[in-house]
Symmetry: C2
Subunit: 381 residues, 2 copies
């Protein structure tokens, strides 16, 4: 443990506002911009950890809410922590549990102290406070922990957004107070404030005053739409320290990621590639293919002729369509694998474009490809 | 195609009645005794073909009934055959479709010509005849095709068993007549006759007169029990040519396989390891573990401490229990992988024991381990 690296973020280069960086943490190095596959309940759904790694993923996200309810943080800790439990040796970021408490649990009661709720699994009463969230994330042995925040709905008035943001800032301070600083481990603050520039500014200033290891932009991708989200990023990212990672939580579609990178975001997570894979959707150049569609029944082509993933190197659209129709598990397995590979390749291309100073060209080419829509996705391959 | 190997079976050695052999066919070599994982609808459920191969499988079974209904044999053929369709380059054996017609379809009507039924998928009327079954298996490009037979229920009177067997023998002759002999491809006959020695003898003699590439023992594992099944094998296997493979269809549990090998069976197929894997069962030395059981919740040990499979090399019983409880796809994926590896290791050990002339010792040790029952399986590891 004495040789564990310090947690660090090195900004390697800029291209406009887009950033190319490197995060070092306890379980390894992460090249940014990075995409974190979501491993909700201790598994990236339908994937072995080995196959997740083979897609190029360097960090995954674990969900505090799910793991605290089952199998419980104490059990994961007694089994050696989340890395060992799920057989994933690279870095893990855990969320605080807040988002799921506010979206999945029942009979919530919010106080200054924390939030009490009924488990969606068995109805048991559970309390999550900033202190307990950090305790859980520490038990899980997460490389990067997140402060507990209140997740508000959409739309929300400025007054409510301000009250909520200020509560989240008090919770951030309490989270930081109990976070046990260890070499290689980090705690990120989360900027709140809805779609109100003054609130975002206030939130950012409070967090910066506390000096976190990284800064997330929270409360987005909750229904406000891409345009609105990008506006918030546009004025919020410049408020953040340039020498710390910027993490946009819960985002997103490939086109959202490309735009957010152009505004200076370094880290992303989203269930999109995994959930889509289990519902017959495949991300390809130009859009999304729905493998349930009978148009694929006799199509001997791979999902994407230029894709080098193990799925495109062995299986036809016709076969994937067959698996979807036959409700075979392999459908979800292969489509998830392809989608995660697609996302990781996108991140790799974004990193290369920033390094080469050709980000704007990349973005223009990417947008041109996407403007064609789904029918273009069918023809492009 | 001109360099394709001839289909052949080489009997390498005997140990008592147990046989060690080698089958050569169009897509490769199979060491016997062999176990064929079942790939019903063009996929070994919950496994990538690469992972199936990594378990040591050298041949898989495809189901004519399922594939003829969806995606259809003609479609598979137009996509390059079943090997290419499912991305499996090693040998494939297809059944005739008969068993599933008699167990899955609705409104069956059996005539001398064949059997007409309603698809269990969409109610469409379909006819399967010996000629059509062979045509389908040829379209699938199966290395080893099976003749169409009638699958009778259990129990069955001697008179009904005789009528059914004689129909199956006429169908075997028709199957052979239309089978297109190609280098490396084979057609197996199926001995019928229920639990009646005279009928089994009659069936075997008729088939041997037709000179098939291999001989299956059909109509077993349909409810007659292990003792009864072994009795049939005991008097039926010696009726078969020693220079051709002996295939026991649809069997079975590890203990059934060991006993059947001791009686001279070379080939097996069964859904047991795959289906069990999807229902939280793991085969280990000494028996079966039910991973749904809370007894595993804190158990950091692998399924089997001596197992060298990728699952036992990375995941604890506690984790597998968690995945089962959380209904994660990875539970079925990992348990299937382990179970297929367990079966392939068993076959490998059987082959080694026969080679070394130590089969009887192996069988005794195996039986002693199994006599202890499931509780022993919990303790052994």
């Amino acid at each position: 443990m004495s040789q564990a690296p310090q947690f660090s973020f090195n900004l390697l280069s800029n291209d406009g506002r887009a950033r190319r960086g490197k995060i070092t943490c306890a379980h390894g190095v992460i090249e940014t911009p990075t995409f974190m596959p979501v491993g909700t309940a201790g598994t990236v759904k339908a994937m072995t950890p080995k196959d997740v790694e083979a897609t190029g993923a360097e960090i995954i996200l674990g969900n505090t809410y799910h793991l605290m309810l089952r199998p419980s943080a104490e059990r994961v800790a007694s089994l050696g922590g989340l890395h060992k439990f799920m057989n994933w040796s690279k870095p893990i970021l855990t969320d605080s549990g807040g988002y799921q408490v506010f979206s999945l649990s029942e009979r919530r009661k919010l106080t200054e102290q924390g939030v009490t709720f009924r488990s969606h699994l068995d109805g048991a009463q559970v309390t999550l406070s900033p202190e307990r969230s950090i305790e859980i994330q520490t038990l899980l042995n997460s490389d990067i922990s997140m402060v507990l925040d209140e997740c508000t709905g959409w739309p929300i008035s400025e007054q409510k957004a301000e009250e909520s943001m200020k509560l989240s800032m008090r919770w951030a301070a309490r989270s930081q107070k109990v976070f046990n600083q260890r070499p290689g481990y980090a705690l990120f603050g989360i900027v709140q404030g809805g779609v109100y520039p003054d609130l975002r500014k206030c939130s950012a200033q409070i967090l910066i005053g506390m000096d976190f290891d990284g800064y997330a932009i929270g409360g987005l991708a909750v229904g406000e739409g891409q345009k609105c989200m990008l506006e918030v990023l546009e004025y919020t990212i410049p408020l953040l320290p340039t020498d710390k990672p910027h993490y946009l939580m819960g985002v997103g579609k490939p086109e959202d990621i490309v735009k957010a990178v152009s505004l200076g975001v370094d880290m992303f997570d989203c269930v999109m590639p995994t959930r889509s894979g289990r519902t017959a959707q495949a991300f390809v150049r130009g859009g999304v293919l729905n493998l349930r569609n009978a148009i694929h029944a006799d199509d001997a082509r791979p999902l994407d002729i230029l894709c080098e993933c193990p799925v495109c190197n062995g299986f036809s659209r016709a076969y994937l369509h067959h698996l979807v129709k036959a409700r075979e598990m392999l459908a979800g397995m292969l489509l998830t694998n392809h989608n995660l590979y697609f996302y990781q390749r996108l991140m790799s291309k974004l990193r290369t474009a920033i390094e080469k100073g050709s980000f704007l060209k990349f973005q223009n080419d990417f947008n041109a490809e996407y403007k064609e829509g789904p029918s273009r996705a069918l023809e492009l391959q």
